[in-house]
Amino acid sequence: MTSAAAPAEARQPARTTGEARAPLGERALGGILLLPGVLWLAVFFLAPLGIMAVISFGSVDASSHITLAEPSLRHYQQALRPEYLPAFVHSLYYASVTTVLSIAIGYPIAYWISRYGGTHKVLLLILMMLPFWTSYLIRTYAWMTILGDNGVLNSVLLDAGVIDDPIPIVNTDFAVILGMTYGFLPYAILPLFVSIDRLDESLVQAGRDLYATGRAAFRHVTLPLTMPGVIAAALLTFIPALGDFVTPDLLGGAQTTTIAKIVQVIFTSGRDWPYGSALGFLMMAITLVGTLLALRSLRREVIG
């Protein structure tokens, strides 16, 4: 979009010179256009994050009210105690494996659509996105009906005589990762497609003309040039996967604990919100570090 927007903006030289000297009418217009949306996001997105940050230093008093009388870091210390480590490790494990799988599956698909989709490119992309828009919850539920002990898969295998007893699939790591990969694959395919589709085919051809093998041309030309897409895909898969508690809950069963699930339980059934806020903030920190790291390498890839 940035590249598409640039020429249109370049066509408005009168508006681009002297930001500070923008005419009064334009400034009023800017206020009308921008202010309501910016205020909404400031009040209902940024301010709540700020409140959550403040609360995470507080504590719960005897009458179960949140108090900031003695601000402390103890919730963060509590969150980093070894017994909570498995939940962090689990969350990161699920999110990482999901991200790697989504890119490993998504890249060839995006490549295939872009290179061989021809006139059907948009349709193929829409088909890829259709399941993505039809309710995450319902798709996870569908996997429960397929993978359950007396689900579709086990019933078919039993009837065919392949197995004698149902294979337990639900309530395993495998089921959670399958469900997450299924759920977040389109998040990966979209940016991968855009970056592969933008790639100038003649560059690859030049590599081939200089006697690169197909594999070498891919490794040294195609892959580095589409790296921004890979990084964006990784980010867009990792973040929702890290924050998802529905899949670990429905496909992972009771014994699967992730940070998102712990946070959810604290806020829906417990009252120790300061502790929950601290956990939430640690999660937010992981996300932000990921975002910043990805942005830096993204810039490096783009600018060179």
Partner: protein, 271 residues
Amino acid sequence: MSGRPSRWLTGFAILIYAFLFAPIVVLIVFSFNASRHNFVWLGFSLDWYGKLLSNRTLIDALWISLQVAAIAIVGATILGSLLGLGLARLRFRGAGAVQTLLLLPMVTPEVIMGISLLVFFAQLFNLHGSVGQISIAHIMFCISYVAIVVRARAANLDPRLEEAARDLGASALGAFRHVTLPLIAPAIAAGAMLSFALSIDDLIVTSFNAGVGSTTLPIAIYSAIKFGVTPQINAISTIIVAVVSVALLIAWRLGAFRSAARAVIAEPEAA
């Protein structure tokens, strides 16, 4: 232009498409199953759809969801369109900051947005969940999508069109109303459709901001699933899949996806 794909790659692509659609097909097929148990096919039946109509919990939840979606669509479409238009048309100090502000809700885990709003409303206003609170949250996370789609469209408009109208004596407002607005209308409509799809489907943010009497459809379905699998869920899922598919089809016809696809990739770069 680049020859024939390898058979392996095409085979893999077909396999992945099958993987993506298999669960949805299973869901739809079993919603017409006469069997009480989900997994044995006992013949075609519309029973589960009939039972659905008399399921007060789900019908009430659907009504709440539609109310929330209506408010979210109107709010997010107005705020997001204005913002998108402003970003496309105005050059101002802090444009980068506004873009980052738009991007942030898209890269924040939903659970974080959910709990921070819960804390915000409970601590500052002593509010504990309502249709209004859910709607405020939905407007918040829909604004970015609307703004990005509208901005993409508005930035690609030729400003000379509006200038031509002005030269022909149209007022600034008139030129906007009769030239620019009709041209960006498809993007606004597409943004509204995206907002509908996002709002009607949201579970995570909603679950933290729902209170007594504001159980939305996804929350009702979630608790039903946790309670036990029933073909009624398949029936309501099939209806949702049908409705969302139609909304998407309309959004596609209006050209939402070209700009949405670009938005998803270009926005993280822009920040």
